[in-house]
Structures are given as C-alpha cells and as structure tokens.
C-alpha cells in the first residue's frame, strides 16, 4: 500500500519526446511534487504540453526519461499490466467530455469504476450510491446521462472517479464544457473534496478554475514553472 509519508506525485527530471524530424520535446525536465491533500492547478496555453503531462501523471503514457513515483512507488519501470492496475486503483479520472456511457443509468456508470479492480461485487451499488450522495447527485441515480445538465454529468463522472478512494483525482479541463453556474458548482465540489483530504490535480486553461486552487503551476513549451 501507499507509504503515508511519501508524496502522492513525485516527478523528477521527466522528459517526453515524440519521434519526428526534429524530435518534439513535449515535456522538458519537469520536476513536480504533489503532497497528500494538495489542490494543484496546471495552466498553460494549448500545445504547451499540458495533455502530455496529464497522460504521464495518469500512467496513460510513459516518460522518455526521468522518474515518476506515485505514492512512493517508481512507475517508469513497471510493465503494462502493473501500470494498468495502478491506474485503476490509485487514480480517478475526470474528463472534459465526461465520458459517461449514454445507454446506462447514472448509478451504473458509477459502478463501472469497480469492475476492473477485482473488488467483490457485493455492496457495489451501495458504494456507488454513497459516491453519488457525496457529489450531491443522490436524486438522479436512475437517470440516463443525456437527461442531466452538464454540471450534473460532470458530478456523476466525479462520483465515478471517487469510487474506491483514489490517491489522486486527475481532472482534464473539468469545466471546459460547462457554463459559469455549473462551473461554480463543480469547483465548490472540488473545494469540498479537498476539505475531505483528497489530492486533486486540475489541468485547465481557465483563469477562474486556476484561481480556486491553492497551488498553481504554469507549463510553457514543456517547461514547468511554479506560480506565486
């Protein structure tokens, strides 16, 4: 299990190059430490390497060089299967386009988070209902996602990410498809979750979202700069 003292994320000199002529360096010697309970916003213009950083953090992509420790464990040397398991168990993803399955009810979408974890099936619905309750969607459990507002959909996706108590909530432009009122509701929810001790990393180019985080970093041309 996770060492309680270790930082959740520890990136050291991480580079990611894409083969091209000449090679594109999307991440340039990125060093980043995120501790338990941190609320970090990563900002930057499009093409700056935000998505690449998110993919590396989410174990969806492998850095070309450098070290990435998640909960104190080195991940760059892990094989595909181990990375997949780690991803499923430790990281909750929140996407800009929600990625809810339209033909399944909200609670079924949330329950989906557990099926690849080898967890016991009993009580899964109860856990999903509790997660939905936690994001304030207890009144929408049987609805199809397409009947929900954008904010409600994103909250359902957050509930799915919260299943199984992840070490890290990794959010990719979580308010990109939301109006200002719904954005506000989602950001309030992040504050609340942060208050409960969750580690949150949000990637965004919106000023407002970044302003709500307690810590901000900016990425430009693959290089990371701490703000403030």
């Amino acid at each position: 299990m996770a060492e309680p003292s270790a930082p959740v994320i520890e990136l050291t000199e991480v580079c990611r190059e894409f083969p091209a002529q000449p090679p594109v360096r999307a991440l340039d010697r990125v060093t980043l430490r995120v501790d338990r309970g941190d609320y970090l916003a990563i900002a930057g213009p499009s093409g700056s390497g935000k998505s690449t950083l998110l993919n590396v953090l989410g174990l969806l992509d492998r850095p070309s060089s450098g070290s990435y420790r998640l909960d104190g464990a080195e991940t760059t040397a892990l094989r595909d299967g181990a990375r997949t398991r780690l991803r499923g168990n430790r990281i909750g993803f929140v996407f800009q386009s929600f990625h809810l399955l339209s033909h399944r009810s909200v609670v079924e979408n949330v329950m989906l988070a557990e099926i690849y974890r080898g967890q016991r099936r009993g009580g899964r619905r109860e856990r999903a209902l509790a997660a939905l309750e936690r994001v304030g969607l207890g009144h929408r459990v049987g609805f199809r996602p397409d009947l929900l507002s954008g904010g409600e959909r994103q909250r359902a996706a957050i509930a799915r990410a919260l299943m199984g108590e992840p070490s890290l909530l990794l959010c990719d432009e979580p308010t990109g498809n939301l109006d200002s009122r719904n954005t506000e509701a989602v950001l309030d929810l992040f504050d609340e979750l942060r208050g409960q001790g969750l580690t949150i990393v949000v990637i965004t180019h919106e000023q407002e979202v970044g302003a709500r985080a307690e810590r901000r970093v900016r990425i430009t041309d693959g290089a990371l700069v701490e703000e403030d």
């Binding site: 969806l60 997949t84 990281i91 399955l101 399944r104 690849y116 080898g118």
Partner: protein, 392 residues
Amino acid sequence: MHVHDLIGEALAGMLAKPVRSALTTLGTVLGITTLVVTVGVAATAGNQIVGRFDELVATAITVEVPESEHTPLVEWDAVDRVTRLRGVESAAAVAESKDSTNLSVRSNDIVDPTRVTTQSMTVLTATVGLPEAARGRMVQGRFYDTGHIRRGDRVAVIGDRAAQQLGITRLDRSPAIFIGKHAYTVIGIIGDLRRERNLSTAVIVPPTVGRRFGLRDVTRVLVNTSLGAADLIARQAPAALSPGNGDMLQVVAPPSPTRARDKAQDDVNALFLILGLVSLVVGAVGIANVTLVTVMERVPEIGLRRSLGAARRHIAAQFLLESTLIGLTGGVIGAGVGVVTVVAVSAAKQWTPLLDVRLAIAAPIAGAVVGLLAGLYPALRAARMEPVDALR
C-alpha cells in the same frame, strides 16, 4: 475482472443498439435456419421413405415354392393353414408358369384387320384371398369364390390395365374374353395393387380352370402379417404350408425400390448444405463488419475503460463476447425458425418430423462460434488501441 461483470458489460454493449444488433444477427439467422431446415427435412423425409418402405417390408412375406416332379410341395388348401396362424392378416397361393405368360387374349371373336384385337397376357391362378394378399381392391365386380372354384366355372378376374387394353369398361353385360379358343366371363376387375403390381396386366382364373393352361401347382404364396409378426410368420409359414418339406421352400422379402430416390435426395441436400454454409460465412462477415464499426464508434468508451483500469485482455474479451453473443442469438433464433419450418413442412406433407436433439443444441453453438471468429479481428483492434489515443 469478474465473469459476471464481463457478461454484464457485453450484454449491455449488445443491447445499447438493439436494432443494429438485431440486424447483425440476420446473416447468422439465415445461415443456421438453412442448415437446420436442410438437415431436419432430409432426416424427416429420409425417415419417411424408410418408414413407408419398412411398413411393406416388415409385413410382406413371399414364399417361393420350387417345382417338384412328384407330389406338389404345397397343396392349394394349405394356404388356409397359413391364414390360421396368429399374426397373419391375409394370404393367397398363386400359380404362375412360363407357359402361361404369353397367352393370346382378346375380348371378342370378330376378326378386324384394322385393329390389334389380340393381346398377349399372363394368365395365372390364385386362391380367393388374392385381392387382400396383393393389397389391392376390386375396382369393379367381384373376385371368384370357392363356389366358382369347386364348380370349375369359366370365369376370370382381370387387372385394371388389362381391362384397359382389352377395352372392357363395364361388367353389367357380363363381357367375355377369349383365352386361346375358349371364352371366359369377366366377373371382376382388380386394381390399386400395392404388392404384385404385375397382376394389373394379368388375367386371373380359378385354380380348377388354370389346369388347362398348365397351372397345376402352387408356385408362390403371398402372406401379409400384422406389424412385428413377420419374423415369426417367416419361420412358421413353411411348416404350415408343407409340413414334411418346409425346408425346401424359400421365404423372401421384396427388394428395395427406393435407392435411386435416396441418391437424388443426397444431391439436393448437399446443395442446400453449401447454401447454408455460405450464408453462415456471409453472416460472419456481417458480424465482423458491424463489430469493427462498433469498435471505431466506441473508441472513447475504450479509453474510459482503460483509464478505469481495464487491461487489453479485458477490452478484447468484452468485444469478443459481444460478437459471440450476437452469433449465439442468431444461432438460437435460426435453430428455432429452422425447427418450426421442419415441423411446418412435415405437417404440410403429413410426415412425422424427425429432429435430432444434437442438431438443436449444435445450431446455437455453431452460431456462437461464427460470432466468436467474426469478433477476433475487431476485438484485437480494440485491445491494441493506446489509451492516450482513445481518450483524445
């Protein structure tokens, strides 16, 4: 991943687009239906031919009586002893000889140079039970009885084809036929024969009359038994007919007349089997095609599942199971439609439907295998997808 979860996800994926899934199964349904109908109807029809054939074989016994120089092996009244055996439905003794197969028979004595009035016919003699023993019926008039035989009346019963050739259509004026120089009154026309069909072109006279044509001794005994009694009767009949010389009699069953038809049936079956297999291949291509389209459409879903911790094999297993389920559904529907069709065809033809239980089980499995094979490539494509690309 739990098996229940895998099945649940595959089912949900299949039912997400129910109309598309239904249309996708169509090819498999057609293929499996064709196969089940072909095999089922062939088995049913085959059984029918064999069944009809069996009914005749199982109940028909012919006892051939060899010629004997001294006393006849079988007396004319011996047939009564056979009739008394339990299990015998009807029996008749028949006398036929080479000399009597080509006698000239005509229906009047007028010499008409413009017409062929004289026919060449077989004359034979038989005991009174012949209409039943030959499984025919009297089309007109009646068969002679023991009275005719005892008195030696010059009467004759002719077969329906013989009546046609001789131009005899009605018996109310007691028409006569001439066999050689002598006239005989026609008292009956025998037809609809299911055994001894050659009797329809023959002239049958009482045994006492037949002596004039050299038909002295019994040459053959026709026996019909009730179903299941043939074996027993075949053993008992020689002893009953000729108590002292039973061993010299030959008991025979009629030869099979259905081989040629079986062959034709086989050719037709092979054609339909090929048709069914082709439909199955087309169905498989259809499933592969649609599953591939589905995979491409569900790229974000694949990305999501990978982000939730799904390994490549989980993705592959889900799509493989979905296509297998589609194939299985097609197989189940196809087997059902096929079985109903076989029963309907049987009902229309008044056959007894014959369905192998193994066929009913194998058909859905065949459908599932088709779905499984068709899903291999799309599932592989889905599993190979990089989560980063899938989430883009």
